[in-house]
């Protein structure tokens, strides 16, 4: 069927990256984009903490501060944490299940570019009169057409576009994990990272669609005169809060479950023990995901939904503590009796466990609905979710970064600098956020751009700000580490530098574009470890060496995403005072680009290309040599 053999080296590097559908290259793109947005939102956090360093400080105005909090939250969740997690999912999942690529390589590229252009659209707001300013929750009526500025339109359209990207990627991962597993890789032999990816993807499908609907409602209100949130004309402002949190609460699990997955990979690898209670871990993940959809009202205890609803949702929220507790103890008992090696990856992964517990217990405290009337919308909540996000997700991501880095890039990150990053991050993080619990209880609401003298908040805010600078230093060290290691670190040529247990460590380093020369036959959970103990240390092949069929690259994902970007920008232009070009024209141009690209893609039959068996053999020999 496939007869055109295209060598990637013939094309320019830029064109190669723009058109790639290789999950490993897309992972690198996700990593880069996520890191850029992470640094950007981190700098915003520094600005916010500088403003809060002294009482009644005037470093930024209230308006600018509101734009900073909104963009910090939105970027961190949608454009930093999500793509960083997607980077690891993209790179690791096909390797861990023994597949040559994801189910829909084209859609995979599409997901990345749409996400990226959505993020770009949101970021453009700074050049058109300021960012969105209604908080990442974007509550109406503060974001309605009467009170919200143009920045809100960038929020709505930017998230709408990037959400489409996240959604199609989610669908792709589900199909990949269900359909593309290597022979013998049953569901109950899936590494836990794959399980959490699967569950997260399901959450994405069911949580990002309500968000898309909700954002559409705000857009229709703001741009086309809808009355959904206008109380005078029968609208209801609490409706948005329900829709937002039906998305927003699962979103927390969308981010934290993959972090759980990474921890569940790293801890067994460096404890030299299999994961304690694998089955319980899988079911705990499923239960957390299920309950995650049943608890959204706990973000709205003070909105006035009534005592019965509050009680029910409070109890449901508390119930999540049980499966989470199961996970915590299973990780502890994975380490228990093991032979633990402490490097940066393991430091991050193991310290994740107690740190996450600190965030979890405040979560249970917050679940007590009546007492939440005290905590709600104060710095106590800010402290709580940063314990979950930094103490959970970021530590998980750091662990994953140091763990999979040699597989992704062919060299280790420097361990000494890595340890320094970890300790700076860990100390700075506790300094910044522990004290914020108390700040909330002594009466500091969240999202305030300043506080008054004589309210007893000055010292604690100063401590918190110093902690933020230490975290900033940690990130700088991490960046230096990447550059330093790229030049100074020794090349990794062995397949399994850590002595780890899962399938991604059974293929060559760096990974060839076809992942596996021969699809492996899986005989157990932790297959690489199993073959080391019960076999000759190598995976048994499930097929003979043969030509390998690969999909061609395509520029259409890029152009479709570009079209969506233009369309989104066109819709925003309806609300601009002086748009120069007619907004409708811009929107239509965007639509033509989108549907034109889709049409061209669908009428062009593309059968991919074959990598001849000789080249596969050559690369295998090269590794031995």
């Amino acid at each position: 069927m496939a007869d055109t053999t295209v060598k990637t080296s013939e094309k320019s590097v830029l064109w190669d990256w723009l058109t790639t559908v290789d999950h490993k290259k897309l992972a690198v793109l996700y990593l880069l984009a996520g890191a850029l947005f992470f640094v950007k939102a981190g700098i915003m956090a520094l600005f916010m903490r500088i403003q809060l360093m002294f009482p009644e400080n005037t470093f930024v105005t209230g308006q600018t501060f509101n734009e900073l909090i909104t963009m910090h939250g939105t970027i961190m969740l949608f454009l930093a944490a999500t793509p960083l997690i997607f980077a690891f999912m993209n790179f690791v999942v096909p390797l861990q299940i023994g597949a040559r690529d994801v189910a829909f390589p084209f859609v995979n590229a599409l997901g990345f570019w749409i996400f990226f252009f959505g993020g770009l659209l949101l970021s453009l707001s700074w050049f058109f009169g300021g960012g969105p300013d209604a908080g990442w929750t974007n509550y109406v009526p503060l974001s309605s057409r009467e009170y919200g500025h143009l920045g809100i339109d960038f929020y709505v359209l930017g998230l709408q576009v990037s959400g489409i990207g996240t959604l199609v990627s989610g669908i792709n991962f589900i199909v990949t994990i269900v359909n593309m597993r290597a022979p013998g890789m049953t569901m109950m032999r899936l590494p836990l990272f794959c399980w959490t990816t699967l569950v997260t993807s399901i959450l994405i499908v069911f949580a990002f669609t309500p968000l898309a609907a909700g954002l559409a409602l705000i857009m229709l209100d703001r741009v086309f005169g809808g009355q959904f949130f206008i109380t005078e004309l029968g609208g209801n402002v609490v409706l948005w809060q329900h829709i937002f949190w039906i998305f927003g609460h699962p979103e927390v699990y969308i981010l934290v479950l993959p972090a759980f997955g990474i921890i569940s990979e790293v801890i067994p690898a460096f404890s030299r023990k299999r994961l304690f209670g694998y089955t319980a871990m899988v079911f705990a993940t499923l239960v957390i995901a299920f309950l995650g959809f049943m608890v959204w009202v706990h973000h709205m205890f003070t909105v006035g939904v009534g005592p019965i609803a509050n009680s029910v949702f409070a109890i449901a929220t508390m119930a999540i503590a049980v499966p989470t507790g199961i996970k915590i103890f299973n990780w502890l008992f994975t380490m228990w009796g093991g032979k633990i090696t402490f490097n940066t990856a393991m430091l991050c992964a193991s310290s994740f466990v107690p740190t996450f517990v600190l965030g979890g217990v405040t979560g249970v405290m917050l679940a007590m609905a009546p007492v939440d009337h005290l905590y709600h919308d104060t710095y106590f909540v800010v402290a709580h979710f940063h314990y979950i996000i930094i103490g959970g997700i970021i530590l998980g991501l750091f662990a994953g970064l140091f763990y999979w880095y040699p597989k992704m890039f062919g060299h280790h990150l420097n361990e000494k600098l890595g340890m320094l990053t970890f300790w700076l991050m860990y100390i700075g993080f506790h300094m910044t956020f522990f004290i914020q619990h108390i700040l909330g209880l002594i009466g500091m609401p969240r999202r305030v751009y300043t506080y008054l003298e004589g309210q007893g908040m000055a010292t604690m805010n100063m401590v918190s700000t110093i902690g933020t600078f230490i975290m900033g230093a940690a990130v700088i060290v991490l960046v230096i580490n990447h550059v330093y290691s790229a030049y100074k670190s020794e090349k990794v040529t062995v397949r399994n530098p850590w002595g780890a247990r899962t399938l991604e460590w059974s293929t060559q380093t760096p990974v060839p574009e076809y992942n596996f020369a021969q699809t492996p036959q899986v005989r157990s959970l932790d297959p690489v470890f199993y073959e080391k103990v019960h076999g000759d240390g190598n995976m048994k092949p499930a097929e003979p060496l043969d030509d390998i069929h690969m999909p061609n690259g395509s520029i259409y994902p890029f152009t479709i995403a570009l079209g969506l970007f233009i369309m989104g920008f066109g819709i925003i232009m309806f609300n601009m005072d002086n748009p120069i070009i007619p907004p409708l024209a811009v929107t239509i141009i965007g639509g033509v680009v989108v549907f034109g690209s889709m049409f061209l893609h669908s009428i062009k039959e593309d059968h991919g290309y074959n990598i001849p068996v000789e080249r596969v053999k050559e690369e295998l020999d090269k590794e031995v040599g």
Binding site: M1, V205, P210, A212, L233, F599
Partner: protein
């Protein structure tokens, strides 16, 4: 893998699921429809929450015309049936019948869409129920209009398939495409049944 299916003896009995690509499309599309369901559910919830918010404008009982909507429902249900007949034809490897039934489906869909446009025109011009009149109006037009947009997209999609493969016969490449398109068409139909019940029947009942 795709190339490993032996088609020298003719097409297998379920051509749409014979290849891994076909299976992937099949599963992926089901997941997509799951997401779509939740999205429609959100709009249904919005409509239910806001349908009382008429703000002195026309109410649902004032404007809805059941006979017209009933005819629309029948047309769309019939189009779903014809797409099933097309799928039967595909499984029997009867390309001509497949094309024929699919074209009937498209025509019925177009008729439905025409009636819907007429309906919206009636409501907005004769009853003064504009999009911006009230929260009820906004949520009604958004929910039903989104369904209409899905119908329109489905018509474009199926027509593209019909034109593109008009001479190719049934192959392992296009069988999943037709199958998925008909799945989408059923989905649109099911959503309409809910709209008919929740929006129209409940709307004139109160």
């Amino acid at each position: 893998m795709a190339d490993s299916v032996d088609i020298s003896k003719g097409l297998p009995p379920n051509p749409e699921k014979a290849t891994l690509e076909g299976q992937n499309k099949f599963l992926g599309f089901w997941v997509f429809l799951g997401g779509e369901t939740i999205m429609f559910a959100t709009f249904f919830g919005t409509y239910l929450g806001l349908r009382g918010g008429t703000a002195d404008g026309p109410t649902s009982a004032d404007v809805f015309s059941l006979p017209l909507v009933f005819i629309m429902t029948m047309i769309l249900l019939t189009s779903s049936l014809t797409s099933v007949l097309a799928m039967f034809a595909m499984k029997k490897n009867n390309f001509k019948a497949l094309m024929g039934w699919m074209w009937v489906t498209v025509l019925l869909g177009a008729a439905f869409l025409g009636l819907e446009i007429f309906e919206f025109y009636e409501y907005s011009v004769h009853y003064g129920l504009g999009y911006t009149t009230s929260a009820f109006a906004s949520s009604f037009y958004t929910l039903v209009g989104l369904h209409g947009a899905h119908v329109l997209f489905g018509l474009g999609w199926i027509t593209t398939l019909l034109v593109r493969y008009r001479k190719s016969g049934i192959t392992l490449t296009n069988a999943p495409k037709f199958y998925v398109a008909s799945l989408y068409w059923h989905f649109i139909d099911v959503v309409w049944v809910f709209i008919f019940t929740v929006v129209y029947l409940m709307g004139v009942g109160v």
